[in-house]
Symmetry: C2
Subunit: 341 residues, 2 copies
Amino acid sequence: LTNITIAIDAMGGDYGTKVTVPAAVSILEKHHDLKLILVGDQTAIQKELNNTINDRLSIQHASEVVDMDELPSKALRSKKDSSLRVALNLVKENRARACVSAGNTGALVATAHYVLKTLPEVDRPAIIRSLPTLIKDKKVSMLDLGANVYVTPEQLYQFAVMGSVLVTEHFNIERPKVALLNIGVEQIKGNEQVREADKIFSQSRFLNYVGYIEGDGIFSGKVDIVVCDGFIGNIALKAVEGFAKLIACYTKSSFSRNLFAKISALIAMSSLKNLKDQINPGKFNGASLIGLKGIVIKSHGSANAADFANAIEEAILEVGKNIPEKIGEKVGMLLKEEIKT
Amino acid sequence: LTNITIAIDAMGGDYGTKVTVPAAVSILEKHHDLKLILVGDQTAIQKELNNTINDRLSIQHASEVVDMDELPSKALRSKKDSSLRVALNLVKENRARACVSAGNTGALVATAHYVLKTLPEVDRPAIIRSLPTLIKDKKVSMLDLGANVYVTPEQLYQFAVMGSVLVTEHFNIERPKVALLNIGVEQIKGNEQVREADKIFSQSRFLNYVGYIEGDGIFSGKVDIVVCDGFIGNIALKAVEGFAKLIACYTKSSFSRNLFAKISALIAMSSLKNLKDQINPGKFNGASLIGLKGIVIKSHGSANAADFANAIEEAILEVGKNIPEKIGEKVGMLLKEEIKT
């Protein structure tokens, strides 16, 4: 894999250049064939670079920034020179193979959809992320995590097919197991949307569909792909993130109650660090927008430099595997064939 | 508080009498004024009691059991002598002040609704549970956790009012803060149902409504009540439960990798146990069905005897506080006044 160029939205996220620039510098040290284009306010980027010079790092100036709480439609209409938009344009113009942003999710989805367009037969892009499971080294991929509030059963099917192709490429799983997120495993439970999707999924010859899964089954390792709409997916995953913070807080207080507990903590440190590394959401940072004619990776807005570097790693991996081309080939063919029959 | 009688659905849950009977026996030792009626198959209950005699423990025979995956409508129509139904009848007939069941949630909601009826101005019962937060000793109450898949904005408002009354009684919080669960904190985000509810909540003079909250805010301690429909609430909370299992599994494996880690674990044991106790979902076992003319507590189906005893404790507490009467007074008045103006 040689000479990949990736565009970085340097202004996105809660911390902007303070996180994106150090992440870019560190990842270039690791990947010697990688080139990065930092997109954003030239002065701010240069200030953060603080005279660091790397001939594989260039700056593309963009005069505007999309705010984290800005209306996606407004960002799309009125901020044509935003760092987010310019970074996506670089992908569109083939000057970069992927775009990584920690910016406003809604604006990123809307702008990426507008600039890059969806693959044939795909209505809408979806956000997918891999997560740890109870089974060691086994991941589960979940989508949609917030790109779409309203999703038809047919679109859930498109998500399932795209997710299957991605997981096969990503984790070398031949026929990944797909489940629909629901409130009960019985056929009769759930809402209309999920029950309709269940019928479509069951009829598919391509999908390895195993039926419904409940919220507590997401991390069980029993399935490879969990499909849901973006409203549910976003709330469920953020609830888990909030709970992870709660546990981190309790862990800290459990080990600081008294001197003996503090000594215990010192001794148990390496094991605790190992635990923290494994459940750290930053380790799983880097959700993919799939269904587009190009690679777009969304970092968590509150990511630190190490987390943001993980999102860039995800982009490198997807470039290496030619993910959109692979999805494009199979999905276009399959969706044409299956939905229309 | 003297001479409370509580009806226990002895057959409900994944383990039936193996869990409910020992829980009942243990809780009677703790509360010397409490009386319990174990409802279910007399032979099975007696076998589990194994000659334990307590004059505050009686058995009410019921010949049928509702299966955990049975259709609620079928259970309601055809199993009129189920342990769940008979236990609810005891509340209806004032022979017990509350009913505790670990049985089929859908059947419990449908049967309780049918047998006990809702309070005036309340359309549907909802499931509410208190959860830990980042702020020590501060709980958050969340509803609906799965009683209703389809909920109107007006019903979300009813949930908010009922939740507020419960939290005021339960935790002595004068004007508890209420938030609506959504995918973004901005006014423009979310789906139609939530945005409509936001308008109603904002206009209420009774509610201390603070706006939207995202999934990661549930455990923040910033609000006292989180309101959502039962589809979202059930999936979000079960996702968190699944994640808690994942963490428990990682914690175990982190501390068993090698001899040094094992020794660390032994030393850190008391701190780890403290941590485990604090995040143990069983500690927070016992969700309330509110909005009914009677107290119904739902235990988790997979609860062990100690967890099930916690659900009985919740019932004792609600009886002591006269929760349905309190909700009935305020809710009937408020909903009549506010919704109809």
